[in-house]
Amino acid sequence: MAELTLVEAVNDALHTELARDDNVLVMGEDVGRAGGVFRATAGLRDRFGENRCVDTPLAEAGMLGSAVGLCMAGWRPVVEMQYDAFSYPCLDQLITHVGRYRWRSGGRMEFPLTIRMPYGGGVRAPELHDDSPEAYYVHTPGIKVAIPSTPADAKGLLAAAIRDPDPVVVFEPKLVYRTARGEVPEGDYVVPLGEARIAREGSDVTLIAYGAMVPVCERAADELDVSCEVLDLRSLRPLDEDAILASVAKTGRVVIVHEAPRTAGFGAELAALIAERAIFDLQGPVLRVTGYDVPYPYWTIEDQYVPSVSRVVAAVRSLF
């Protein structure tokens, strides 16, 4: 066990997986010579060569589109999108091809590619360095989505994504890239997709979150006098519905937290799941604390936008 930051854990996973499987290849903008703008791919080019850690032209659709072709040639590409909002040019390839090509092949070809990107706000950056695009990805059939909140999960979920036979998108909470530190198992380490983590046991209310909102919920739990269960989803598809329903059955109260805009965000899916499958367990409304349906704001006021401990606390209090 080594104590690593979240971004170091990502780097560790990439080193481990490239060493483990010669078919794994990392590609993206500035991943090679520079080792990534967040250093997530540091050391890969020196260790595995420029053909296993490739600096591509500046073209996200070209990156993802050629990754589809790489899969056809037997590779398992790991594509880095430099930032959340800079992944949007690749959505066309994602929706029209990445999510459909296995289906198109009558199930006889696999497209085991991974897309990973830093996401989320709070980093005092110019616009479009703060987005939380997970809903665009998780709404797309054929795609799986994972979002770690701890260094150990950052390693384990990325390893699971790279080994998964289907396309997986991993969103890494850049806000805690360097501040989240924790014990990370060395060498082979996989956290299976689809298993939520109970970040904190509780009995009065369930806080459901992922990524950088997990620590926010934990801090809110500290402030609250009621007993909060904090559920860290870790994976949005596959989704650990049992863990959600079990917790709701126990507490009867739910607050869902994410940074993305509210309308048709993933929180809506969680609320819908609960409204369909756990309606009679509920002792109150299913609340969401989310980003607003407005462009991500100027960073001097971004704290008004990103769900805060106090907004989560207020939502929980309103349930009692």
């Binding site: 050629s66 056809m72 040639a73 390839q93 029209t96 036979p165």
Partner: protein
């Protein structure tokens, strides 16, 4: 006419009569597929169909330069190009019937899936070619797309990727001068589409898209260049769309029919046939036999496609994931 000289030139290069007759057979096969399909559509036996009448010289000529280990990336306009690799006629017909038996595995034929969204398969070809090269495998990727496709970002990003990666790719632009109802001059201001190669630092060539031997010669050179590690080539095959965009389309609203008639009079299969007859490579009997063989193939193909049992509704779910999420079936 130039083509007979071409024949002797090819002969001197070892492209013998057998090859020419095989090339002829492929053109006739594609032509027969296309003409029968329009009839099948009228009879309600297939759905909307993208007609490739008079595009056969491009499709047969370019792919004639490939080996079986090379990959073909077709657009909807090249839906039947797999026939050249021996793909069963019923498979392609089934695709146009919306029947699951029409979905093949690219790995089975080294023919990628029919690409419906314009130009989005261009980066796939770049990636496949690059990926094969990285593995030290000797395979070339050949992508087909239209004149309109060159306006899409996906074309630009894909060709640039292939060029930068020095990937063994050949980009074949079917310039039929129309994108549905949009003429070439509304698509680009460039003198030629081959000019676009300059911006990627790769060779661009322009050939008569109705001259199968000219297309083949250009493709052969491009494939050799790719194989020998010198990177991609862009080939512009110039002709003029002499049929509707698809069965649903009525071009009389926007294309001058006189021009279309001219084009039809000079259609590529008959042109090659005349050349071969003239050169004594092909006899009328052989030509008739080839046509008969292709018609029989089609007859058997449509019969087989129509004999397919109705698809299992379960197929809605079967192929989405290797390892499906638990809630996939909830709706």
């Amino acid at each position: 006419m130039a083509s007979t000289d071409a024949l002797s030139r090819f002969a001197s290069e070892g492209i013998g009569d057998a090859d020419l007759l095989e090339l002829y057979r492929r053109m006739v096969l594609l032509r027969t597929y296309d003409e029968r399909s329009v009839v099948y559509h009228r009879q309600g036996r297939i759905g909307t169909y993208a007609i490739f009448w008079n595009h056969e010289a491009i499709q047969a000529g370019a792919t004639f330069a490939l080996r079986d280990e090379d990959w073909i990336f077709p657009s909807y306009r090249e839906s039947a190009i797999g026939l050249i690799r021996g793909m069963p006629v019923e498979t392609v017909i089934a695709w146009w019937r919306g029947h699951p038996s029409g979905w093949w595995s690219p790995a089975d034929w080294n023919v990628a899936s029919i690409c419906v969204p314009i130009a989005t398969h261009v980066p796939h070809a770049a990636g496949l070619a690059w990926g094969k090269k990285l593995r030290g495998e000797d395979a070339v990727a050949m992508a087909f797309f239209g004149d309109g496709a060159t306006s899409e970002g996906a074309f630009h990003e894909g060709v640039n990727f292939a060029a930068v990666m020095n990937a063994p790719a050949v980009f074949v632009c079917n310039n039929n001068q129309w994108a549905i109802s949009t003429p070439l001059e509304a698509q680009t201001r460039a003198e030629t589409l081959a000019d676009k190669a300059v911006g990627y630092g790769i060779p661009g060539v322009r050939v008569d898209g109705l001259d199968v031997l000219a297309v083949f010669a250009a493709a052969r050179e491009a494939v050799e260049r790719a194989r020998s590690g010198d990177g991609p080539t862009l080939i512009e095959c110039v002709h003029y769309r002499a049929a509707p965009h698809a069965t649903a389309d009525d071009p009389r609203a926007y294309i001058d029919q006189a021009r279309v008639e001219e084009e039809r009079a000079n259609e590529c299969v008959g042109r090659f046939e005349r050349t071969l007859l003239e050169a004594g490579v092909l006899t009328p009997e052989h030509a008739a036999a080839v046509k008969k063989e292709c018609e029989d193939l089609m007859r058997a193909g449509i019969a087989a496609a129509e004999a397919e049992p109705a698809p299992d509704p379960e197929l809605v779910f079967t192929h989405a994931y290797v390892d499906p999420p638990g809630n996939m079936r909830r709706g």
